[in-house]
Amino acid sequence: MLEINSVQAGYDRTTVLHDVTVSVPEDGVAAVLGHNGAGKSTLLRVAMGLLKPKSGTILLNGEDITSLAPNQRVARGMAYVPQGQQSFPHLTTAENLQLVADGRPDGSKAMVEALDLFPVLRELSSRRAGLLSGGQRQQLAIARALITRPRLLLLDEPTEGIQPSVVAEIEETILALSRRGGLSVLLVEQHVGFAMRAGQQYYVLEAGRVTSSGAGGVGSEQTVRAALSV
């Protein structure tokens, strides 16, 4: 589905990613794990087009999308939930979702489906997103991404800084979506248990390099924990 090939990227003169190669299987989940500062979020920013790589290529279903703008990648079926429960804080919950549904032929239907996944957002539809709790904002962020009906979803630490009860709900939703088919996921996560339950493939990033990779699943959890503790 997505192939990130030998990517080198960074900010100004600082190189954050060194020759990173990651692929996401069709209808599958690839999990990227690593400590803070390993380059996980930078990898997703490169994949989504928010940061141009210094070298390397990004292929989506075989098409080279390295030079495409983020909104063009969205039009090709990619969606991105950035780190930090980001929203448009002065728009209401409904406006945050309507914004993405606008101009899409099936936008209204997609919006209803997204709200069905996170019913709490329906009750908060007239509240400004900046006044929602962290967990509610993360649900809003995932719902907003799903309205574009993505074939590939990039999730950057979706459970970070959120209370446990909401974390469980978000994890269940992501697992259900990936099992339903028709959606591939590139998941960046520090929570190893969740990442390995969700991922069919895993990559461990250390200081901008892939130091370990392999088949995912609960059975690989100890291997990954060992790789992360090095």
Partner: protein, 294 residues
């Protein structure tokens, strides 16, 4: 009592002019954060559009009605061109933007001198707008009433566009979180250009209105640009209602002070009041609160 009412109407009419010239800036400066020193020249372009139209359309009323949408398009196109040529390359460099747009404003003033000549020119107001009407002893100038109505109509339309339309949602989204807007599928560069088009177009409409109360000249825009920025800053950037309230408050304050002092002293007192207000409330009259920084 009649004196108070007369002065109040004068203040409100000054406020209406302030609101009209500041409306475009609430978008380009208030929403986008671009310090566009050429905004005044878009006002001038709107005024000269009215002047040119009156040369080809003999009826002052019809030419004024045609001038309103045409000036919007002319000034809007100039703004969109400026955004495409220069400003989009300078979004992260506000001081450079200020200098560049100031240079553009000087060039546009010179262009106006070359095309229309250095002396001021005048348009003829439609008969309907030349007289006065008297309500409860208060004399209301028809042209001032027209400007008041036009300013309120423009403010209401802009509010409705920003609040209720897909374009308005996109504009607000891009202002609040550009990267998130981009990854939500919004073509942010196109939104920037459209926002600049509307903001500059509103300056053109203000230019048409100003032909009813004064002469048209190459430097007319510079007379209004500082006042326009003051209205947006005091109102609170990114807040249209703040600009509306501020424009009328400053207009009435100016009018009341002019009555008891002189025009110059009134202007000084208003400026001192603004400085004091911004010391107390640097964020302006209205701000939006959020639970977090995102």
């Amino acid at each position: 009592m009649t004196v108070i009412l007369n002065q109040s109407f004068t203040g409100i009419s000054i406020g209406a002019v302030l609101l009209l010239i500041a409306l475009g800036l609430t978008l380009t400066f208030g929403q986008m954060g671009v310090i566009n020193m050429a905004h005044g020249e878009f006002i001038m372009a709107g005024a000269y559009t009215t002047y040119v139209l009156q040369k080809s359309i003999s009826s002052a009323g019809i030419s004024l009605l045609v001038a309103l949408p045409l000036a919007f398009l002319v000034a809007g196109a100039m703004g969109a061109l400026l955004e495409w040529l220069l400003i989009r390359r300078l979004y992260t460099r506000p001081l450079d933007t200020l200098l560049v747009t100031w240079g553009v404003s000087l060039m546009l003033q010179q262009l106006a001198r070359d095309v229309f000549g250095a002396p001021n020119v005048q348009t003829h107001a439609p008969d309907l707008l030349t007289g006065n009407m008297s309500v409860a002893g208060v004399t209301l100038a028809n042209n001032r009433l027209f400007i008041l109505g036009l300013a309120l109509l423009c403010a209401l339309t802009l509010t409705l566009i920003l609040r209720l339309t897909p374009l308005g949602r996109r504009i607000r989204a891009v202002v609040q979180n550009r990267d998130l807007a981009e990854v939500s599928g919004i073509a942010t560069e196109r939104v920037d250009r459209t926002t600049f088009f509307i903001g500059s177009g509103l300056a053109g409409v203000a230019g048409v209105a100003l032909t009813l109360v004064g002469p048209i000249g190459p430097t007319m825009g510079t007379n209004y640009i500082v006042d326009a920025f003051l209205v947006v800053v005091v109102g609170g950037v990114a807040q249209l209602k703040g600009s509306v309230i501020t424009a009328f408050a400053l207009g009435v304050l100016q009018s009341v002070l002019e009555y008891s002092t002189t025009v110059s002293v009134a202007k000084v007192i208003v400026l001192v009041a603004i400085v004091a207000f911004l010391q107390w409330r640097p964020q302006g009259l209205y701000t939006l609160r959020t639970r977090s920084l995102v």
